[in-house]
Every structure is written in C-alpha cells, then in structure tokens.
Symmetry: C2
Subunit: 201 residues, 2 copies
C-alpha cells in the first residue's frame, strides 16, 4: 500500500485484455499481445487465469459490477429521471474514449458465437439489467416530467440502449467520439433542464 498506483499483475492482465477486447473484439486479440502489453510472458497469464475464456469471464464480471454500481449510485443520488438519463449518457460516452473503444458488452456481443455459454448468459443478464433500469427511469420520467414526450417505457428503454450501442459503434468506426454526440443529441434534448444542470453540452 506504499504506492497507490501499484496494481497487481492479475489486474494489469485484465486491464490490457479489456482494452484489447474493446478495440479489436474477442477473436481479434491474442494472449501474446496482452502479455506483451503487461511485460510478462504469455504462459504467465495461465497462472492467473486458466484459459482465455476464464479471463473473459472475469472481465465481464468486473465490468458488470462496475456498471451495476453506477446504476445503483445514479438512482440513489439523482431524484429526477432526466438527470439519471443524462448521467447514463455521459457514462456510456466515457466508454468510447477517443473513439477507439466500445463498451465491453457490445464488443463481446459481436463475437457471441465464439464465447462459452456462461459468458453469453452474463452478457444477456447485463443487457436485461440495463433495460430494466432504463425502463424504470422512463417510467419515472413520465411521472416527474423531466423527460419530454415519453412513449411506452419499455420501448423507450430498448430504443435508448440500441441508440447508445449503435452510437458507440459509429464513433469507433470513424474514430470520432463526436459522432456519439450527434447520434444521441435528440434524446439528450428531450431532457428537461433542472436548476444547476446544463443539458446543452
């Protein structure tokens, strides 16, 4: 604990692997590359993870925990649906960085046929939790009036998640994060401004 920036080898492997998956997909990166990034030999990875699948499983679990915590926190700290949705849009935008990456769940969905069943299950669960949270958010928005022009909450949730996922893909395809803003602009503009919050950016 002498140096807070020190991370374990296991964490370094996971960080490098997550970066690789989000940039090139499951079938687009090798453990050799991950090892090179971390500065160890490929075989050393097998001390920490029993297989490539095992490593991906750990990544999905970590990522799910992260996002689930975010969702809980956003719901706990923001009372207005519009503010919750804005936080969601900012969080998903942060995942694309400079237009190089996409969300881990989108990246893995593409290579789904190459993944073990239990990983697919985790991804589908992740998806459903997001849909449920968004549905509740739009339901709340209907009550508190902080999001304009709301239709069926479940349809809104599915449309919102599809929009966000597609916007991430577009941004990475052009390596331009501003495309994410272009695609999500109309949804963002449906959020009613609250005191002290600027929704124009």
């Amino acid at each position: 604990m002498a140096d807070v920036t020190t991370i374990t080898t296991k964490t370094a492997i996971m960080n490098a692997a997550e970066d690789a998956v989000r940039k090139r997909g499951y079938n687009g990166f090798s453990l050799d590359e991950v090892a090179g990034e971390v500065g160890i030999q490929k075989s050393s990875i097998y001390y920490h993870f029993s297989s490539k699948s095992d490593l991906i499983t750990a990544l999905v679990r970590r990522f799910s925990d992260q996002i689930f915590s975010f969702l809980d926190d956003a719901a706990a700290t923001e009372n207005r649906a519009g503010d919750r949705l804005m936080k969601y849009l900012l969080e998903t935008r942060s995942l694309i960085e400079e237009g190089e990456s996409i969300c881990l769940s989108v990246a893995l969905n593409i290579d789904q046929q190459s993944l073990q069943a239990k990983i697919v299950d985790d991804l589908l669960l992740f998806h459903q939790v997001n849909i449920d949270w968004l549905s509740q958010t739009f339901e709340l928005g209907r009550q508190d009036g902080s999001i304009r022009n709301i239709g069926d909450p479940v349809e809104e949730a599915n449309a919102c998640l599809a929009l966000v996922d597609g916007a991430q893909l577009m941004a990475r395809a052009h390596q331009n994060a501003e495309l994410y803003d272009q695609a999500t602009g109309l949804l963002r503009s449906r959020i009613v401004a609250s005191a002290g919050k600027d929704v124009t950016n």
Copy 2:
C-alpha cells in the same frame, strides 16, 4: 441460362462467406468453413479470390451496390418521407433474418482493426451514403409532414442509423428479431399513416 436457380461457384462462395461474416464476424469464420458450405476444397477459393481480404472486398462492394440500389429505388418510388423511412426500416429488419444475422457493414465495423484500409474506406463510404439518404428523408419529412416531431435532419439521420444498427445487435444477441421491433417501435410510430399503408405492424 437453362436453370435460373443455378449460380456460379464464385457466387456460392460469396453467399456462404457473407452468411458467415454476418453471423460470426470477420475473425470468427475460416475459409475452410466456407469451402465446406459450398462443397469444394479450401484451396479452390483461391482460384476465384486472391485472399480472404479480396473476398471480403467483393462482399462489401456487392452489399453496397445492393443497398445503394434499394435507396435509389425507394426514393424514386415513394414520394412521402414517411413511406421511405418505413421501407428503410423494413429493409434493415430483413437483414437480421431470424435474429441470427446482422447487416454486413455492422458485422465488419466490429472487426475494423483486422481489415485492410481500402475495405474500411468502403465501409465508411457506405455509412456516409446511408446518413445522407436519411438526412434528405428527414428533411423531406419536415416539408411534407409525413414524419412527426422532426428535429435537425442530420441529427435525426445519425440517431436513426445508430438505432437501427444497435437494434440489429440486440436482436442477434438474444436471437430474437422481435427485439428489433421493440427498439424501433417509437421511431416507427412517428410515421404518419398514408392511404393504403398500415404502419402499425
């Protein structure tokens, strides 16, 4: 020409390869699988295509021609913006089949880092043509009133394409084409019904 159902080996290779790419991605299929599907040996593919990249290039060209023709045709035969957009949504939905496939351009965008530069250029061009067509459609919709509640046409176009791409991913992830309908339902409901056209389905 004795049998209209007879296709050339080259076409059969392209059909099998396109199916594979759209189901498993560029790095998720091998030429061996394609050959097996066609009923020839792997090496025979190299008589028709000089490399895997060359094959993919041909697929992208063919797919672009197909969709560009569709866009031209839709603009020529449908006068109302709402009808054009409805055709677009039906066309993109047909690409997912039973929730097993996605659009070739979405499938390849994911594995972009594994593709040659000229293929990426073709994909970006494909994307831009779609954006331009959609922008013009929303612009027209603002004039003829056949789509409700239109914002900035370029933002609408980007949002629409992101939504459609994301909806395809969602549908394939759950192997359920109805998720595409769930995600695009609100957009579809913005289309003003015209005589003889039912937009509720």
